[in-house]
């Protein structure tokens, strides 16, 4: 069953009098349980596509469906509801709230869905164990390494058991070892929980983790295949 369907989506940004077309008519279907990479050079439209799938933005034309529901016309609050219940995010810059501990950062989405205290505690403990951070639960982001922060972000993204997790350049700010660890955790969680992962990257070290690679260039999907099409680790990825 499809998690998201994108039909003829365009997205145009207007800065001053200049219009830039970030997406020029994209069609894409992502099935439940996929582990998909969006690849392409900077400016190809990867992040814009992720933002549209993640209800953070709205298309200029075309339709975006999440779990069969057209999200293109949702208002601000309805989009927030959709994000809260259905989508988890992992960002390039870790995106944790600096004043909260790892535990409290994971707790935010659970508080937003109104989960009870005991249930919340159980869930957070389980998630932090899943990302190997049980012993760092009460550390704040500035006391954690980049890799640890990104793992907290993964735990937070999984907190409400969303149907879809979107990751924008999740390893871009990590060294090789931490990048590998993050990708392995994401892969494991995808396999164990069946949650769909879509991640944008131009990091050739991580593309081979994807079981499907969607390549964008100049706002269009130019290649849509399985992970075998991706170059092997260490090889230069050529668009």
């Amino acid at each position: 069953m499809e998690v998201t369907k994108i039909e003829n989506v365009t997205r145009t940004f207007k800065i001053g009098k200049v219009e830039t077309q970030a997406l020029r008519g994209v069609n894409l279907l992502i099935e439940n349980g996929e582990f998909t990479a969006l690849v392409g050079p900077s400016g190809s439209g990867k992040t814009t596509l992720l933002q549209l799938i993640g209800c953070l933005d709205q298309p200029t034309s075309g339709r975006v469906y999440i779990n069969g529901k057209d999200i293109s016309k949702l208002n601000r609050n309805q989009r927030a509801d959709m994000r809260r219940g259905t989508i988890g995010f992992i960002f390039q810059f870790f995106a944790l709230i600096p004043t909260l501990t790892a535990y409290e950062n994971v707790e935010i989405p659970l508080l937003l869905v109104g989960q009870g205290s005991a249930e919340r505690h159980e869930r957070i403990t389980k998630l932090l164990e899943a990302v190997d951070l049980a012993d760092r639960a009460h550390h704040r982001p500035d006391q954690l390494s980049g890799g640890e922060q990104q793992r907290v972000a993964i735990a937070r993204a999984l907190a409400t058991q969303p149907a879809l997790i979107l990751a924008d350049e999740p390893t871009a700010n990590l060294d090789t070892a931490n990048g590998k660890q993050v990708m392995e955790i994401m892969t494991r969680l995808n396999q164990e929980t069946g949650v769909t992962f879509v991640f944008a990257t131009h990091d050739p070290r991580v593309i081979h983790y994807a079981r499907r690679v969607v390549t964008l260039r100049d706002g269009l999907i130019v290649q849509n295949g399985n992970g075998d099409q991706a170059p092997l680790p260490g090889e230069k990825y050529e668009i």
């Binding site: 933002q51 993640g54 953070l56 933005d57 601000r76 609050n77 927030a80 509801d81 994000r83 809260r84 219940g85 988890g88 995010f89 960002f91 810059f93 995106a95 944790l96 709230i97 600096p98 004043t99 909260l100 409290e104 707790e107 935010i108 989405p109 508080l111 937003l112 869905v113 937070r156």
Partner: protein, 405 residues
Amino acid sequence: MMQLYKMAFRDLGRNRRRSFFSALALAMGLALLLLMAATVRGEMLGALESNIKLNSGHLQVRAASYNEDKTSLKWADLIENPEALAAKIAALQPVVAATPRLFASGIVSAKDSPVGVRIFGIDPASEANAPYRDGMVGGEFLTADDREGIVIGEALSNKLGLKTGDTVNLLVNTSSGDVDQQPFVIRGIYTTHTPGFDESTVLIPLLKAQAITKTENHASTIFIVLKNKADTAAVLAALPTSQYQVKTWEQMNELVVQFEQFADAYMSIFYLIILVITATVIVNTLIMSVYERTREIGILSAIGMKGGRIMAMFFAESSLLAVGGILMGLVLGGLLVFYATRYGFYIGNMGVTGMTLGERIYASLTLSDTISLTIITFVVTLLAALYPALLAARMQPVEALHSGQ
């Protein structure tokens, strides 16, 4: 809700110095409001009490035709045989003192310097005249049978360079419309710490006043002092209102009451100015906070936090600033008001026509003023958070997430 306040508390803790100074601005604003309110209240209360004590008493009984403004000395405008009436009134249970007084206008001159004065003919032994008797700063108070003695205020003695034992010439209007003059020896000098009163009022014994003004056995008023202001209506009911005009302290101090209302309205403008300045500091602090945390707002929005909750987060911060600022403000304001209540502010001879202002203003803070100003400060601080909170809530998540990149 607890989580919201926990986040708000920690956010304020990120920039402790800025948060502290914002709360301090709030504290100083509230402290200033409390001090201003207490000072105005104290000034009005002081003016009223002072006027009751020195000028009006709680009640006055006068002849039906007596006109206070003209200080009439015609027998028809005065009370005949005032001692008898005063004795009857003094017998009423809530009355501390009821004493005849004769008012006349005149001119005191010494060393070729004439000064217009009000002459109070008083019964020196009456409890109603304790404010003058207790305020003697030199010489002795009058006795009822003194035929040549006069007591003058300290402000007048300073003005004319007079001292106890000096002789002054007193020119007085009489009941027949003539003027008479006599030399008087200054027996003593009093102060009521009310320069406007002390400079313009001289005291002589009632009998002497009646003699010099040719108003034998007459008085302008029966001056009544009660144990408690609240007894006024009860005593008023027992007085012979059909034969005489009876004035209550409220009627005789209308100007003070009106001035108090005017002062309340006038001060509201100052309160508003202080609150707007304070609110500006809070708005500034929170706007800086919004801009510094734009990306975090984007993150929270991305994980599904709605605009209302983002607004609530900033209102929580604002309310914490308000609580901190108010607590500091109550302490700071309390200390200022304590000082102003105990030691007062010296204003000297700042006379206002119709009012008897002391040379010092003593603050008087009421619980209701404290509560209302505290609530107003809290509400204004929350209102100050409205714009920054809206700014945060209206941020587009995509733009917020990419801010600073």
